[in-house]
């Protein structure tokens, strides 16, 4: 039952927001997103809820959602980030804007909860639509182009994945004589060797584009750059997780043998992206782009953890997904404030904003340090687990990951110094307002909490990753 609330509150709330006047739309959306956070807390303390209804019986499709340890904290991330994003939005964006944000929350909740492949795909495509309209209607000068790039590139991957989804179900039907789209039952399929790489590739491509992973990040600079800051933080913080989440949720159960077979190739692929993202971040002059490429690099790090195919690496990736969502989401919001204050996104040399705006500088530093992986903050714990997973058998990639952590410190501190420190060469700007501090403090607290107590998440995630861990153990105890 709880699931109905978790999905129903943002969906019904979105239409409520559309029905109220523009003046109170923001408040309405805030209240709805707040209730959603409360619903999630009920989820957290209540029994582990699932929802399993027959949907299209002729094809064995079920409306099946569950909040296992893998999904639970991503659902929380969605609830929290949506609330924060609504708080950080301008009230004059109008009710349609808040409608789309709440609709996006609904679709993301469904995406992270779905364990039926068809349902997963429905939400997978559905999350694209609100972002498309948000980019079209409420973004910068080149927003329309960014919106087109976002939708077309993502649907390019998704539609080929749809062939994969149908192919998997067709193969299951031919193997067993009946239909099912339940991910858990689609394991151990007898896929013909000729079709195998194609089906595997169709899924991997879609997930890589959504994340995005190098070299499928063509939509990223435009979309992150043009979107209003709250939307950038939602896309980078929440939706980018959908891509790597897909590897865990869909590919690990269905394509476990294939993942093992292609492991070296996959590791090389994401390692290239890891290094590429980090160095691209170093050479950007646009502060949003630094964070965008940093995020690209982090997502490659998460993928590296998954493809390590070790328990530690996969648990680390699960943890880092949540942590990264909060850190990068917060960073984009702060950059949004900075951009609003100084009127542009370039940072040439030093600007010394910390003189006039110490609170802004402090929070900026906090999120930057979290993103670069300072011990005690969650980025460190996640990256540590990933490297631990890699060290045993893939030590080269562990070395690359360690090296990139150093580069991360370089680009993050360069960004901080460039904007905040030094002798002011730009007019002083206003500090954070009370309203802005109000949503930054809880985020920072959350980051600290999961940073010092990662077990809160990992202990939940490990049982859900049982299948994956089990599979790893089958391969000769590579954990």
């Amino acid at each position: 039952m709880l699931w109905i609330f978790l999905l129903g509150i943002p969906l019904v709330g979105a239409f409520v927001t559309l029905a109220v006047s523009n003046g109170v739309a923001k408040v309405t959306a805030e209240v709805i997103a707040g209730i959603e956070v409360l619903a999630f807390i009920a989820f957290l303390v209540g029994p582990r809820a699932t929802l399993d209804l027959s949907w299209i019986p002729a094809w064995g499709i079920r409306f099946h959602l569950t909040a296992d340890g893998l999904a639970l904290f991503l659902l929380g991330l969605t609830a929290v980030m949506s609330l924060v994003a609504i708080f950080a939005s301008k009230a004059d964006y109008g009710r349609t804007y808040f409608f789309w944000v709440l609709f996006l929350e609904f679709a993301s909740m469904g995406l992270f909860g779905a364990v039926d492949l068809f349902l997963f795909y429905v939400f997978w495509e559905l999350v694209l639509i609100p972002v498309f309209f948000l980019l079209t209607g409420w973004s910068g000068a080149r927003g329309r182009l960014a919106a087109l790039k976002w939708l077309i590139m993502n649907l390019f991957g998704s539609l080929f994945m749809l062939i994969g989804v149908v192919a998997v179900a067709v193969i299951y039907q031919q193997n067993t004589g009946h239909f099912s789209f339940e991910i858990a039952s689609l394991t151990h399929l007898a896929i013909s060797p000729a079709a195998q790489p194609w089906i595997f590739g169709s899924f991997a491509l879609a997930f890589a584009i959504k994340a995005p992973l190098w070299p499928f990040h063509g939509w990223m600079p435009d979309a992150y750059g043009e979107a209003p800051p709250p939307i950038t933080s939602l896309v980078a913080g929440v939706l980018s997780k959908a891509g790597v989440f897909g590897f865990l949720r869909v590919m690990l159960p269905i394509f476990a043998p294939e993942l093992a077979r292609y492991q070296t190739g996959l590791l090389i692929w994401v390692a290239v992206g890891l290094v590429y993202g980090a160095f691209m971040a170093v050479r950007q002059r646009d502060m949003k782009m630094v964070t965008a490429y940093a995020s690209l690099s982090h997502l490659s790090m998460i993928a590296l953890g998954i493809f390590s195919l070790t328990a530690a690496g996969i648990v680390g990736a699960t943890f880092l997904m949540v942590a990264h969502g909060l850190m990068v989401g917060g960073l984009f919001l702060i950059l949004g404030v900075v951009e609003e204050r100084i009127g542009h996104r370039e940072f040439n040399g030093v600007m010394g904003l910390n003189q006039g705006a110490p609170r802004l500088a402090t929070y900026f530093l906090f999120f930057a340090l979290a993103a670069l992986g300072l011990p005690g903050l969650p980025g460190f714990a996640g990256e540590y687990m990933i490297i631990q997973g890699l060290v045993a058998h893939e030590v080269v990639f562990a070395g690359i990951a360690g090296f990139v952590l150093v580069v991360a410190a370089w680009y993050m501190l360069r960004l901080f110094q460039g904007i905040m420190q030094g002798r002011p060469n730009a007019p002083a700007v206003a500090d954070l307002s009370r309203g802005q501090v109000a949503w930054l403090v809880p985020m920072a607290l959350l980051i600290v909490v999961i940073g010092v107590w990662p077990a809160g998440i990992t202990s939940q995630a490990v049982p859900s990753l049982f299948h994956a861990v089990h599979f790893v153990a089958d391969r000769g105890g590579k954990n």
Binding site: W55, T96, E125, R144, L151, I152, L155, L162, V166, A167
Partner: protein, 470 residues
């Protein structure tokens, strides 16, 4: 004879409406009311026959089965929605309702046809009123559209008739449902005949490379008539193609299945590709309709029960989306006949609900989840893969991707902040239009969210169990 009551009701309604508009020229909407009620009655009567066991009637010239009943319901929906879009518009002329009724009658005839002569009668009944209706605004563009449609339609009818003659020569029978039983047929004549018949139907269905007439005719015709062509004609032509091939030629899928498959891929890609640069929305929808005809062909090309079901399923979401989009167009155009992309500027801010309807329709055309169009594409993909034809599946995906560009540009126009177009500012809602839009949106989202009932219904109607792979 009770099986033909829906046809009789509609024919009676058409005649009565014709008399009524001639005798009482000042009674507003009288003809429309008569035809609408006749359509409703026909629809109810056809639905009441749902439990029928398949049988041939009228000396084996017509088939009554769940397939024909479902077709009847689809084309009546097309006819009724076109009629409602033309409500209160005197400039289309008082003879519009009876002509539409006759055209819908032709489509219903196609649904039941089991004999080549009935096919021909159905196609002519469908087409002749449309030639007149295309010119019913008496504008230059309308006249041009009507003339083009008439000439090419007559040309294709000639080809069709020639093909039928060859088929008769090869088999000594016009009743195509018995063809598989005729073993002594002259194969050379048979294949030539089938080829020509396919060309004739391909003209009506607007399959590439027989699609040239579509954009001009769609653009020049009044919007309600364009809607009838886009929805009704497509249903009529697609279902007779399926019936003819599935009943008359099911043994030889090796030859025509492959051909239809190539045509399907070509049509999906070319149709959608040509839709991309269009600025006039009716032209855009014309080309997109060509693309959708390609999707329909996929269902036929797979030569399986799944494919037949999928094609049958696809028709309804397609038609509902057409209702949504043409309904919006009709409201925007007002007294004109043309809507361009730039007329949509700023609609999302000035007319949010109308914009929402357009968004739903376009997203369904594009095949986005929670709309009927997505389930239709999913069904087709499933049929293609079950038939072991991944090429068709890739064709669907590429066609959809290309189509996206065409559907997204109008949607982006809705959010253009700079200026609101005059047509949007002076737009007036009408009750009849609102009914069409309401049905379209509820239907589109309803099928998208809970497709199980429709899946069940089509799996009963297009249950050609003798097809391979069933």
């Amino acid at each position: 004879m009770g099986y033909l009551i829906p046809e009789v009701l509609l024919a009676g309604g058409a005649l009565l409406a014709l008399l009524a508009v001639a005798m009482l020229p000042n009674a507003k909407n009288l003809g429309s009311w008569i035809v609408l009620l006749a359509m409703l009655a026909a629809g109810v009567d056809a639905a009441s026959m749902w439990g029928v066991t398949a049988k041939l009637i009228m000396s084996d010239t017509m088939a009554i089965d769940k397939y024909s009943i479902l077709v009847t319901e689809f084309v009546l929906l097309a006819g009724a929605s076109s009629l409602l879009l033309a409500w209160n518009a005197d400039r289309f002329g008082a003879e519009l309702p009876p002509l539409m009724a006759i055209s819908v009658l032709g489509m219903m005839t196609l649904g039941t046809a089991a004999n080549l002569m009935v096919v021909f009668v159905g196609i002519e009944l469908l087409s002749l009123p449309l030639y007149i209706l295309a010119a019913s605004t008496r504008t230059r563009a309308g006249g041009e559209a009507a003339l083009k449609y008439l000439l090419l339609g007559a040309f294709s009818s000639g080809i069709l008739l020639f093909g039928m003659a060859l088929l008769y020569g090869a088999t000594s029978s016009l009743t195509f449902v018995v063809y598989p039983a005729i073993t002594a047929a002259n194969t050379w004549l048979l294949w030539s005949g089938l080829g020509l018949v396919l060309v004739g139907i391909a003209f009506k269905l607007a399959i590439v490379p027989f699609h040239m007439w579509v954009p001009d005719v769609y653009e020049g015709s009044p919007t309600p008539v364009t809607h009838l062509m886009a929805f009704g004609t497509k249903v009529g032509a697609a279902i007779i193609l399926l019936r003819l091939l599935a009943f008359g030629f099911y043994g030889q899928d090796g030859s025509w299945g492959t051909l239809i498959g190539y045509l399907a891929v070509l049509t999906m890609i070319v149709g959608n590709l040509l839709a991309v640069p269009q600025l006039n929305l009716k032209r855009l929808l014309g080309y997109s309709g060509i693309g959708h005809a390609g999707f329909l062909l996929v269902g036929i090309a797979t030569h399986s029960v799944d494919g037949a079901n999928a094609m049958m399923f696809y028709l309804l979401p397609y038609g509902l989306a057409a209702m949504a989009v043409f309904g919006v167009l009709r409201l925007i155009e007002g007294q004109g006949d043309e809507v361009t992309l730039s007329d949509l500027r700023g609609m999302a801010y000035r007319r949010p609900w109308l914009a929402a309807v357009l968004i739903v329709g376009m997203l369904s055309f594009a095949g986005i989840p929670l709309t009927g169009g997505f389930v239709g594409k999913f069904f087709l993909l499933q049929a293609a893969l079950f038939a072991s034809q991944p090429g068709l599946a890739v064709g669907i995906v590429v066609g959809t991707l290309v189509g996206l560009f065409a559907y997204l540009r109008p949607l982006q126009m809705l959010f253009q902040r700079t200026e609101v177009s005059a047509k949007v500012q002076h737009l007036r809602w009408s009750v009849a239009g609102a009914v069409v839009l309401g049905v379209a949106v509820v239907g589109t989202i309803g099928i998208g969210v809970y497709p199980a009932p429709l899946v069940h219904i089509v799996s009963q109607s297009a249950n050609f169990y003798w097809l391979t792979g069933g």
